[in-house]
């Protein structure tokens, strides 16, 4: 795990923001694959959670966060504050996951 502090509140308790480095973001576009789609199609008859997709989305979100952290690190930040997630459906069956936040240098 990185030493960069990631949080979705605007202040870090007990620490002062030394400088603001602006917005950083990371995104990934993921699509489900046919094999999972067929299994999910069967699962659709009875409804409920689609575990394979949950894992997929979880992975995608982690990747987006990781890319955002990477960008923050490259501009010399040691914290990302006010992180938000946003998602867009690109086509049916594929989604873009975006993580963005403010890169800061903390004391």
């Amino acid at each position: 795990m990185s030493s960069i502090l990631v949080s979705n509140i605007e202040v870090v308790p007990g620490k002062r923001v030394k400088s603001h480095l602006g917005l950083v973001q990371g995104s990934t576009v993921r699509s489900k694959h046919a094999g999972k789609d067929i299994l999910a199609g069967l699962k659709n008859i009875v409804g409920g959670e689609l575990t394979a997709y949950t894992e997929l989305m979880q992975e995608a979100r982690e990747e987006a966060t990781e890319r955002m952290i990477e960008q923050a690190r490259s501009i010399g930040a040691n914290g990302v504050l006010n992180v938000r997630y946003a998602t867009t459906a690109v086509t049916q069956g594929a989604a873009e996951i975006l993580a963005y936040g403010t890169a800061v240098v903390l004391e």
Partner: protein
Amino acid sequence: MELLFQYFEIVLTLILLAVGFFAGRFLEARHYASIRAREKQYRKILAFSARYPPNMVEPQDTRLVCGTVVISSDYFKQFVAGLRNFIGGRFRSYESLFDRARREAILRMKMDAHKNGYALIINVKFVSTSIGGNVTGQQGMPCFEICAYGTAMRPQKARFPDKLTD
């Protein structure tokens, strides 16, 4: 032959409806039971949508936690919703689906926090995506992802009033 084919389709639909209805109901009841049990279990982990921690808490270290769930409707619910579309009003069958998904997402977020030893989550937000259909653009079953995320913190026990600590 044509007639037989049509007949077969109707029978298949009825079977799928019956399976969707009974299995869907059973799974939903089981899921609700599990949600209620885990909500009780993780009651001590507090989650707030407030942007700042409560006054009594002096937060120590913070971390982003997240809980994700992908849920789909069953065949019966989709059928009922299709009928519902004609007259409008409440989609009762889908309401429970969203309720389950959101509660499950919150629970998973709490579990993530608990696993790492955090006791409080603030600034909780929801984000959701529809991932129904497939890449060829075919309309599929309604299927969506719900994610709950927030900032977990480890409050100092000393700052709690005595009666709240155990």
